[in-house]
């Protein structure tokens, strides 16, 4: 499971849903795996406002991953500004090339870091623990099991 999913998951117990400490779930004994994929700016832009930033930062820290800035980046931070020096360079300005260059957005380092964390970092094995009730959910082969035992339903 990609790390992004932790941004949506809480404890499955109904009694925990109202407690703020049930979100996020805390990964324990997690075996991480990096699965590379293509960066998608449209997606990052769409998901950015839906991220619970401080909780995401917390998870990153718990997993010992490079720390995130304190405040969430804005949508504009995801692309590098086209350098204004380029058009005035010595090379012959070709109108076709310029148009192509303008349409093509270059992802910034912020976007790359975010992509790495949310979409390339996956939990392969381990546990997810609720901060409220302490119940542990096992992750096996990248699939977390949220089925509650008989006495907790």
């Amino acid at each position: 499971m990609k790390l992004l999913t932790l941004n949506f998951l809480t404890c499955a117990r109904r009694t925990c849903k109202t407690s703020p400490s049930s979100f996020p779930l805390h990964p324990r004994e997690a075996e991480l795996e990096i699965l590379e994929s293509e960066l998608n700016l449209v997606f990052l832009r769409n998901i950015l406002p839906r991220l619970m930033w401080s909780e995401l930062r917390g998870i990153g820290e718990e997993l010992g991953l490079p720390s995130l800035p304190e405040s969430p980046p804005s949508r504009e931070d995801l692309v590098t500004k086209p350098s204004p020096a380029k058009p005035s360079s010595v090379t012959e300005p070709s109108s076709v090339e310029e148009e192509g260059g303008e349409g093509e957005e270059v992802p910034s380092q912020t976007a790359k870091d975010l992509h790495r964390l949310l979409l390339e970092t996956t939990i392969k094995e381990g546990k997810l623990v609720c901060g409220n009730c302490g119940h542990e959910y096992a992750v096996k082969e990248g699939v977390a099991n949220f089925l509650l035992p008989g006495h907790l339903v």
Partner: protein, 468 residues
Amino acid sequence: MPEYLVRLVQVHESFRKAELQALAEITGVGLGFVLYDEESPFCIVNLPSDTAAQDVISRGILSHGIYELWGKGSTYDELHASVKDTSRNKWAAYHNLPFRFTIDSYRGSRTSSEQRTIIESFSYFGFVGPIRMRDADVSIKVFEDYDFKAKTPKQLFLGRFIAKSGRHAKTTYDLKKRHYISTTSMDAELALLTANIALAAPGKVFFDPFMGTGGFPLACAHYGAFVCGSDIDGRSIRGTGGSARRGQTGKMDVVGNFKQYGIEGHYLGAFISDLTNTPLRLPRLEDGTTTGGYLDGIVCDPPYGIREGLKVLGTREELGEIERQTHEDRYRDPNYIPPKKPYSFIAMLDDILAFAATTLVENGRLSMWMPIANDEDIEIMIPTHPCLEISSVCVQPFNKWSRRLLTYRRLPDSEVSQEGLQIAKKDYEKGIKADDLNGFRRKYFEGFKEQQKLKYEAGNFNGIGREF
């Protein structure tokens, strides 16, 4: 606005309009229907431009292509008059380009000499370019619409080809060629169609709470959405339950399916859970707090309780002290299986709606399939929720039952009526057996006898309806 002719396919008729409307919404263009008939594969729409027409149709599943309408009529004389009237100014642009001229007859046919005569009758276009049946720059088509077994067509159209549809995806995602499927996998065509109607699009987040082997997430990911799913049966996700294909062995799982189509980057992951005890964040809780939804769409085919059991976590009877203790002592055992109980089908549908109302973003879509016996009162049977507005109902009929694709739009908070939110507690079927809880299942296994009796008093019908 210019008129375009959409060459539809003559299957899943009730889905066609809903799909075109959804595609127009995804593309962000206005589309108006000028002529549409369930019985005909020719549909005329208003669209702002050729580019818009191409964008709309490029994802279409229930169409072949789109054409700029150059004329229509019920006889060839009328057609010629109409063509001369509406498209005269367009001919010059294609004067010396390589071209192609063909005839498409629906429920009828023309011999090649007849075709030739028809094509020749349009010689006044004055095209002098070379005829090229492949890769022509301009392709003109005459469409003939016949009544069943009629000798002459009742409607004629002439159009210039703009773009072909995305119907080929149906072949790419064909279940017969899919790495891993189960007994209840949704047909590829319908799964892609569901994704279209639910507005799956690049960069969006989609979720399927009854994913099984991931048919719907795959279809949504095909259109660029990022997908995630869950199922109460972990074996279907991890692929440890064996293959539905006879004789197939080896590791088959949902990830494998995403890899087969090269879209594993769009697969966020899956987890094992039950919708009534979902681990997903429910941003709007009973206390009225609103932190906003995070899913752009939910697509699902909930278990009907026939091929797949309709179960949720819990026990049929209240646990005693000793049993509770046993569960508590044993649940960490790797072989522990949590107890499950049958659940009311209607309650399940309402749970899905409540879940969607909470987790969807404003204007997000919920598309879910629902089976129904043909004798039931359909109006009453469509579940509702104050935060959700029904946007389309499409029907796939079977013999004695049918299933419907219900699509809802999450209303923006400002449009939700406050009175509506005070929903009266509904009474669901009570009982502990699956048959008591699920009226559809009961009727199904009784072979829809009651309705048979009503419909064909003296008829001699045997057994169960068509399997799905």
